[in-house]
Symmetry: C2
Subunit: 359 residues, 2 copies
């Protein structure tokens, strides 16, 4: 075992279909069939091949398979920032559903820049069978270009010519405003997120409408970065015209805002009630625990995978005429839920409120 001979064959390369074929005494094509369409080969032969292949440690080479078939079993999941807790549950859902379908996911991070997003996607496209675009910052047109190249599903953004999956923001915002109304608040400030965000516009519009219907007033400040720092920044503007109720674009913003509020002597929820959106990791252990509009993000991810995989199946059956060129597609919706925690409370009477800051 310790002789120089050992060096002669330092590592035997992965066996190929030919090695297995030779060992099993069949043609390579038969081995191929045994692995790709077991139905089309004699049951006994198939069995024998499987056993021999296993013994030899044979594994099909996905790259080689991809060449003639064009299928890679890879799925691109494009997110603007892997470390944004908003994506966690989406990623988990996608992971789970993809693994179940025998797909591996290619996680494409784009650092919030739509230019990088294009570059990164361009690099990934030739490798994948399908694409999932989560909260994309790209233009509709850019997205269409991508959808032309591979089956694509867009998450959290509504499009009519590319399949999309959205959270029912309108309803979520309505619930939030209702909740505040019930607590006696009459005017609510919306702390806006990035302008490039489709969801942001959606949320603000929904809040305005809900407020109108409930005889309340809605104000908007922003845009701010959807981060804790953004929330801190928002405080400056908020303090100029404070209201007793706030809904923010997302939880991070809410957390930042609450921190700023506290530092400046406001009490939450005593002086101002705050509602976030997303129910991210951490929204339960910040102070106070945040009331937030939660979405079934994991489900969203799972559904997205199923949808896009179904689309690849379609594409295989009838090539050309991609989804994007067909009739308008209704976006699928998943519903939200208001999680009432401790950052919201009844509106204090003005007297009490005026006294509060720096009391």
């Amino acid at each position: 075992m310790d002789h120089a001979e050992e060096d002669a064959q330092p590592e035997r390369r992965q066996p190929t279909i030919y090695d297995v074929a030779a060992a099993a005494g069949v043609a390579p094509s038969t081995v191929s069939r045994a692995f790709s369409r077991p139905g089309r080969v004699n049951a006994e032969t198939a069995e024998r091949i499987q056993v021999i292949a296993a013994e030899m440690g044979y594994r099909v080479n996905p790259m080689a398979r991809a060449l003639p078939t064009g299928r890679t079993s890879l799925l691109a999941l494009v997110v603007s920032d892997v470390t944004n807790p908003f994506f966690f549950e989406i990623i988990r859902g996608v992971e789970a559903a993809a693994a179940e379908a025998g797909y591996v996911i290619l996680l494409v991070n784009t650092d919030e820049s739509s230019k990088d997003e294009r570059t990164a996607i361009d690099r990934a496209i030739p490798l994948v069978d399908a694409i999932l675009l989560a909260n994309s910052r790209m233009s509709d047109n850019a997205i269409r270009m991508i959808a032309k190249q591979r089956p694509t599903v867009v998450l959290n953004r509504q499009m009519t010519d590319v399949p999309s999956l959205v959270v029912d923001n309108a309803r979520g915002m309505r619930r939030a405003v209702e909740h505040l109304g019930t607590l006696g608040h009459r005017v609510v400030t919306y702390v806006a997120g990035p302008e490039a965000s489709w969801a942001d516009g959606m949320r603000w519009r929904s809040i305005r409408e809900a407020a109108f219907e409930l005889d309340m007033t809605a104000r908007r400040i922003g845009p701010y970065a959807p981060t804790v720092e953004g929330g801190l920044a928002a405080l400056v503007d908020f303090a100029e015209k404070p209201t007793t109720a706030v809904v923010t674009y997302n939880d991070l913003l809410a957390i930042g805002l609450m921190r700023g509020l506290t530092q400046h002597g406001f009490e939450v929820p005593g002086d101002v009630s705050v509602i976030g959106v997303d129910n991210i990791f951490g929204s339960d252990f910040c102070t106070p625990p945040l009331t937030t509009v939660a979405s079934p993000l994991r489900l969203l991810g799972e559904v997205a995978v199923r949808t896009v995989l179904e689309a690849t199946r379609q594409a295989r059956l009838m090539p050309g005429r991609s989804r994007a060129t067909r009739d308008p597609i209704r976006p699928a919706m998943v519903t939200t839920e208001l999680l009432v925690r401790e950052s919201t409370g009844p509106r204090r009477t003005p007297r009490t409120r005026d006294a509060a800051p720096r009391a």
Copy 2:
């Protein structure tokens, strides 16, 4: 534009090297060279090919390239749980360094189960050029098997026959204990994480040693799940024999513990000072902001990529004799830093302390 004719060529396929070659009036191999080793082709010709290729929208097909070369430009990053904030900075670092080197990362999630970890890795291996194993729960042997198949670097785990990168836990823990000592604490409880974690053993040992050297006493409770819930669970055991100072396996545990502590009438840091490890997202906005041992995780990820890519280069130059069969390898270390925030404070005199709970 609206005629049936349009259907005849619904989508022209991606141009290949042959199309470009024809258009440029050169041999396919020349086009290939123009893209893979521009140096080896006449500058003008190369330029012309590039232009024509760009016009035609030609892009090299990575799958096809992978077949003859065996290189895929894909890098597997294996993590036990994408949504664990601990991995964030590592992922970012890896992302950044990989992108810079023209690599795309294949994110392999293993859901904390070493069985799934094997399955998922087996699925990914044939697709990638190299593997990064972050906080793996697999056995050393399983890791060795993987390292035999592809250049591998292990993060946060020390191995002698596979290149590894670790955080200087010993020093971090020592700093933590020193900090507590300076504040007047004499006995510190270590709240342990998962037993399968290499870092856990390391941390406990380091704390014990540091305590010994500083004439302090160290106690250990656990193991607990490295989560907020785990911290809550730890409180039960902790309350039986409370100490004025605690160091936890990680931040999540610390956050859970602090919450439990607060709920049970202990004050943090008044009654007990708490130190976490990792400086995760959220450790700054929990209450109180957590004093924690921070690691340059982003750097860790970057260094890991460079190391593993260097290894692939080596492997290409001299195949056989993989890294794993060579002499022992010293693990590389990155240093930690103690971030003092508000969860640690001077030890109160016993009198005050006794009065505190449920006061």
